[in-house]
């Protein structure tokens, strides 16, 4: 136990404040609880959702172009659905019929842009058909369901002869078809889209499939009964052979009743391929009972779905993890704190701090109209862990002061409050303002997050500084025996031993060498840190997750599905009929297609060349852009004459002023995105590619907006770090009134930042809009470890006058609480490593390691630095205080311990 100092004179204002808080406890308590109740109410209104627009840097020119043209040329929220035949080709009647119906089902999903669906089964996917008299007509590839093998063969012929379809919407091996749908950003509802795609698009054609399309539940009326009504029976399937007819209601399988499609699908799936089933059917208006015997066919198609809305859908599906992680974390932390303090109040008090701060934080999120993103769920845990950490420090000090003040509860409360006020408040301020620098990045989500995190951290002051003395006063004081027993345990002995070694001559040298070597390794490794996603697979979910499997499979079959939209903005109407503009667009396509990560591209010129060729009896030499504006206009007329403007707008604006070149990229790895954009800029800047009547504008689509976000992150990363550290520097400078203090405290933090950046590079974690907030919140975390230790060193040196003795005492008192705090914080975030969301798992693990490194640096390196440097601002305090009256240990306490 430390001797302590009588520093009441130095901090008499804080002692006075502590006393007044207790005097006016009832009114303060009612006031704080009232406001907390209000925030709690708002907390429960909070929704879990992602606003795509908030993820983008709205002021970036790329995003402005994206916003301007997303409604016409397509945005970044594309869903790619691939239907793959397990055997043979897709050109069979049942498979083509299903592709048609699947396309129809996709068109009915909430939020889809009906004019931006690409599929051989969609009305907007057209081919040119030569008619009698030399007329050409652009007709949909599939007008209706194919009925005969001849229909299927005809569709195959059309596909093979249409350049804009073959290899783009149907794979070159004829085994897969792609349905691409763009979603309207303002109507994106990731959970609903995910459910509707599962239930309307995938399940009816795969789960329990036997050749009939069965009507499912209406997603808007999930509680209403919905019997298994047959909507469609496909020729050549088990259902057709069994004589099942449209409008039949399937009521039983092998005599067991089935109430809806899901139950029917479950029964059929359970029977397995080859099983013979007798279906009970009610047919016609008079509901005649008939039966049909079917042999369950083996699954013949596989459906894969990828794209950003789908990815976020999976993230939402896994977001339920938060409950069990919260439960386990809470129970584990309670147990740890109870074991440490030997008192349930020690477990409860930090919980109150955490809960009150959480209500203030979550309520505030709702109040400013923000919602929780499932990808930042680690953040509340992290901030709550900070709140709990401060509370543990305070509780530990309360016990210490309780013993020192002759077991006088009130004096102990006031002393703990006054003595820890400066490091606690300073720690909270540095954390809060350190996070606020995220505001620099002009991405709405990050700005909101910065405000929220900063407010949430500041809210810790309410429970920790305002309510804390009052809560202690209301709670019964701990048993003195238990307070004394804390000085006897193995934990204390271990801390003492480690501190002794650390402050020995060998320990100091080893510590310095150890951290120096680690810093060099970290600095070397962090060169590999990249901005953006580090792998082709999405880092948000695991590599073997259904999403990444689907994404990889689609990429494998179609080369590239992630769009980069470059807009060719005309200066006047009909600019897109100018042959020079069109030739430049074509050259642009060929130029960028040479990049290894660009699968293929599409623009108006592809349509033009195809039409020109068809118009000249399919002679390949006519597959060129016509020489004059008039010829171009006529060729366009042939193709677009029968299409409404809503359909043609996805290729060119109705006044032919603006069109686009879309490059479908293989992945969105950070370095690939940067390279592709760089190459695009290079082409546009070349003098020979200047267009008289138009200019290229970068860039929309997923690749375009990711490039914008990465661009902003690169631009602001260094500045953000500098300002983060600068803020902390200033606050610590004012706290200790010495420039050496911030250098001492920021040194361990700086090293742990280098190490974590190195670790991120090694683990393949890139800096992106998802990782940045968590990483920035982590920057300041750990400064309070140093603040508590340094403050205690100053407090102790006033009495002892001996620096090394003061450091040792600080390590054995505040350092001990710091080490326990670190254990709690690491445990609090480490459980996230078991999350089904890979991103949360990786970030949870990373932050746990980060906090551990920060703690180790503060606990080992900081004392050694103080000891080596012997800073003036510490040494000048030597002997300014006097030793407290030593309290005799009562005999019972000795007996109890």
């Amino acid at each position: 136990m430390s001797a302590g100092t009588t520093s009441e004179q130095d901090k008499r204002a804080l002692y006075w404040l502590g006393e007044r808080l207790i005097d006016y406890r009832h009114i303060i308590m009612v006031l704080v609880l009232g406001i907390t109740g209000l925030f709690a109410y708002w907390s429960f209104q909070l929704k879990l959702e992602t606003s795509f627009g908030d993820l983008l840097p709205q002021t970036h020119p790329f995003v402005q172009i994206h916003n301007k043209y997303a409604g016409t040329f397509g945005g970044a929220n594309n869903v790619q659905l691939m239907v793959e035949a397990k055997e043979g080709t897709i050109f069979t009647v049942p498979t083509l019929a299903r592709i048609y119906k699947i396309t129809e089902a996709v068109d009915q999903v909430y939020g889809v842009n009906h004019n931006q669906i690409d599929s051989i089964g969609h009305r907007t996917t057209r081919y040119l058909r030569a008619q009698a008299g030399g007329f050409l007509r652009a007709e949909p590839v599939m007008i209706g369901l194919p009925k005969t093998a001849e229909d299927a063969a005809n569709i195959q012929r059309i596909v093979h002869n249409t350049e804009s379809i073959y290899g783009i919407l149907v794979s070159l091996d004829d085994r897969a078809a792609l349905v691409r749908a763009n979603f309207i950003e303002g109507r994106l509802d990731h959970r609903r889209t995910f459910t509707e795609i599962n239930e309307r698009v995938i399940a009816p054609f795969t789960t329990g499939w036997f050749g009939a399309l069965i009507k499912g539940k209406d997603p808007l009326k999930p509680d209403q009964p919905s019997p298994a009504v047959v909507e469609q029976v496909y020729p050549g399937t088990a259902a057709a052979e069994a004589g099942i007819k449209p409008q039949d209601v399937i009521v039983s399988v092998n005599g067991k009743p089935v109430e809806d499609r899901a139950a029917l699908a479950k029964a059929v799936t359970a029977a397995g391929p080859g099983a013979k089933l007798t279906l009970g059917i009610e047919r016609g208006k008079d509901r005649t009972a008939v039966t049909a015997d079917i042999v369950v066919p083996a699954p013949d198609i596989e459906i894969y779905v990828a794209g950003e809305p789908r990815l976020y859908g999976w993230v939402y599906a896994y977001a339920g993890d938060v409950y069990w992680i919260l439960t386990l974390t809470y129970c584990m932390e309670w147990l740890l704190r109870w074991l440490y303090f030997h008192d349930w109040r020690g477990a409860l008090r930090p919980t109150l701090t955490g809960v009150i701060a959480a209500f203030w934080g979550l309520g505030f999120i709702h109040l400013i109209g923000f919602s929780l993103d499932p990808l930042i769920l680690v953040m509340p845990f992290l901030i709550s862990a900070r709140a709990v950490s401060h509370a543990i420090q305070m509780h530990d000090r309360y016990y210490e002061e309780f013993e020192r003040h002759h077991w006088d509860q009130r004096k102990a409360i006031v002393a703990a409050f006054a003595e820890l006020f400066v490091p606690t408040f300073s720690g909270i301020l540095t954390d809060a303002f350190g996070v606020l620098v995220i505001m620099l990045v002009p991405i709405v989500m990050l700005r909101k997050l910065a405000v929220v995190a900063s407010w949430w951290i500041l809210a810790i002051t309410v429970s920790e500084m305002l309510l804390n003395p009052i809560v202690y006063y209301y709670l019964r004081a701990p048993e003195p025996e238990l307070v004394l027993a804390r000085d006897k345990g193995w934990y204390r002995a271990a801390i003492n031993r480690v501190s002794d070694w650390n402050l020995s001559r060998t320990g100091k040298v080893v510590t310095m060498v150890f951290w120096s070597v680690l810093t060099v390794i970290g600095a070397f490794q962090m060169r590999g840190l990249i901005v953006g996603d580090p792998t082709a697979a999405s880092p948000l979910v695991y590599e073997d997750s259904p999403y990444n499997v689907a994404h990889a499979r689609i990429q494998e079959k179609f080369g590239g599905v992630e769009p980069l939209i470059v807009v060719a903005e005309g200066k006047d109407r009909d600019a897109m009929k100018d042959p020079q503009v069109l030739r430049t667009m074509e050259r642009f396509q060929r130029f960028l297609e040479r990049d290894r990560d660009v699968g293929y591209s599409f623009s108006l010129t592809d349509i033009l060349r195809t039409v020109n060729m068809v118009f000249h009896e399919l002679e390949p030499k006519w597959g060129v852009i016509p020489a004059t504006q008039r010829d171009v206009g006529q060729t366009f007329f042939i193709f677009f004459a029968n299409s409404p403007p809503t359909e043609t707008a996805k290729y060119v604006t109705p006044d032919y002023q603006t069109a686009h070149v879309t490059f479908f990229c293989r992945n969105h790895k950070g370095d690939n995105v940067a390279r592709i954009i760089e190459r695009a800029k290079e082409f546009i800047a070349a003098p020979e590619n200047r267009m008289e009547k138009a200019e290229f504008k970068l860039a929309g689509g997923l690749i375009g907006v990711l490039a914008a976000a990465n661009d902003e992150l690169v631009r602001n990363d260094l500045l953000m770090n500098a300002l983060g550290f600068g803020t902390m520097f200033v606050i610590v400078l004012f706290t200790y009134r010495s420039p050496v203090a911030p250098v001492l405290l920021l040194m361990p933090l700086f090293i742990s930042n280098i190490l974590i950046n190195g670790l991120m590079a090694t683990m393949g974690i890139g800096i992106n809009i998802n990782t940045l907030p968590l990483v920035t919140v982590g920057v300041g975390f750990g400064i309070d470890y140093g603040l508590y230790i340094l403050s205690r060193v100053i407090e102790e040196i006033r009495v002892t006058g001996d620096l090394d003795a003061a450091i040792r005492t600080a390590l054995c008192t505040s350092g001990k609480a710091v080490s326990f705090t670190a254990v709690c914080m690491v445990a609090g975030t480490a459980l996230w490593t078991f999350s089904n969301i890979r991103f949360n798992s990786v970030m949870g693990g990373l932050l746990a390691i980060w906090m551990f490194v920060s703690f180790m640096a503060a606990e080992t390196l900081l004392p050694v630095l103080i000891s080596f440097i012997r800073p003036k601002f510490v040494m000048r305090e030597a002997g300014r205080g006097h030793r407290r009256q030593t309290i005799e240990r009562p005999p019972t306490a000795a007996a109890a311990s």
Binding site: G320, Y330, D343, P480, E481, A896
Partner: protein, 51 residues
Amino acid sequence: MIMRWLERIGFYESLIIIAIFSALVIIMDEIIHARVRRRRQAQQGGKFPTV
């Protein structure tokens, strides 16, 4: 198996488990404290002495 069970925990289940666990810790702690208090009362006749 455990993970599957854990993944079924929802918001209300979580609150119930947390409340029960906290209550158990408090009860267990009070039982231990009561024993400590009784021992002190037996030895010193009540209050913890101060200097």
